[in-house]
């Protein structure tokens, strides 16, 4: 029992420090990022003001992938070392990642309609992100599908690891397949890299990305602390 709780109590200490830090950074970065994205940054020379969707879409895509990758690491730690905290992280982070992934898809559709003339195209990038969405749903369904929660955690961890194959596919789908439609984000980023445009559009994108990262980290920490509390209650009532 002591070894089992050694890590969660350490985590509690760390979480108490990190919560206000993340909250502060998230508020500042998102506030500045939103102003920058909507007001200060210039419209794109081709896409005009529609490019402002990018400041939501691309950070969401980053977070969806980053959270999935983090879950993959946590899943590995859980399987190899039976790290309780890793399982709690999985349970806390997966739904958050799923929301980021859903938003990435939704804002992508809202961007695709005016730019490509279609809400959806079956391009490699879009399809692989859709697969990631399905994976998120499947893993979340697995976590709650067992009468014994630790079996759910185990199954979810395994599926997360198997699904990691999809991450490089998303990342390189643009380069591996010559799809008819140019994928949205990367070309825009490349366009941002043009010396004339660089700073004005890269800055809000990075600020929004960092802000969203802090914000979602905050949410995940709150959810993890709730999970820890729930486990403690379940354990003490179990002892009674």
């Amino acid at each position: 029992m002591i070894t089992k709780y050694a890590n969660p109590t350490n985590f509690e200490k760390l979480a108490k420090i990190l919560t206000p830090v993340f909250a502060l950074f998230a508020t500042l970065l998102l506030a500045f990022g939103l102003c920058d994205a909507l007001l200060i940054s210039p419209p794109d020379y081709q896409q005009s003001d529609a490019v402002r969707i990018m400041y939501i879409h691309v950070p969401s895509a980053w977070m969806a992938m980053m959270i999935y990758a983090a879950c993959g690491v946590a899943a590995l730690m859980f399987i190899v070392w039976k790290h309780t905290l890793a399982e709690l992280f999985l349970r806390a982070a997966l739904p958050v990642g799923a929301v980021a992934c859903a938003l990435c898809l939704a804002t992508g559709m809202l961007w695709g309609k005016p730019m490509w003339g279609a809400w959806w195209v079956w391009d490699a990038r879009l399809t692989s992100v859709l697969v990631m969405m399905f994976l998120y749903i499947a893993v979340i369904a697995l976590t709650d599908a067992f009468d014994r929660p630790e079996q759910g955690g185990l199954a979810a961890a395994w599926l997360t690891i198997i699904g990691l194959v999809n991450l490089p596919v998303i990342k390189y789908s643009v380069e591996w397949w010559n799809t008819l439609h140019q994928p949205s984000s990367l070309t825009s980023v490349k366009r941002v890299m043009n010396p004339a445009m660089a700073d004005d559009m890269l800055r809000p994108l990075l600020v929004m990305g960092l802000g969203l990262m802090c914000y979602l980290a905050l949410v995940i920490i709150i959810r993890m602390r709730t999970e820890i509390m729930a486990r403690k209650i379940a354990n003490t009532t179990g002892v009674k």
Binding site: L38, L39, P43, S48, D49, A50, R52, I53, I56, H57, S60, P95, V96, V99, A102, L103, A106, T107, L110, W111, K113, P114, L212, Y215, L216, L218, V219, I222, R223, R225, T226, M229, A230, I233, T237
Partner: protein
């Protein structure tokens, strides 16, 4: 006023840009609020037991 309406129009892309920001606000906000509600409910439950 015209300043605001040109800003809201987003040079014609307003009907795509604003829903994107709105959706993001709602979804990311909901995630945060849901986390807080869950925590609150658990705390109440914990106090109820004591």
């Amino acid at each position: 006023m015209t300043d605001f309406s040109t800003f809201a129009a987003m040079s014609g892309y307003g009907m795509y840009v604003w829903p994107a920001y709105g959706l993001a606000l709602i979804a990311y906000g909901a995630v945060f609020i849901h986390a807080l509600i869950k925590k609150d409910r658990l705390k109440k439950k914990q106090q109820g037991e004591k």
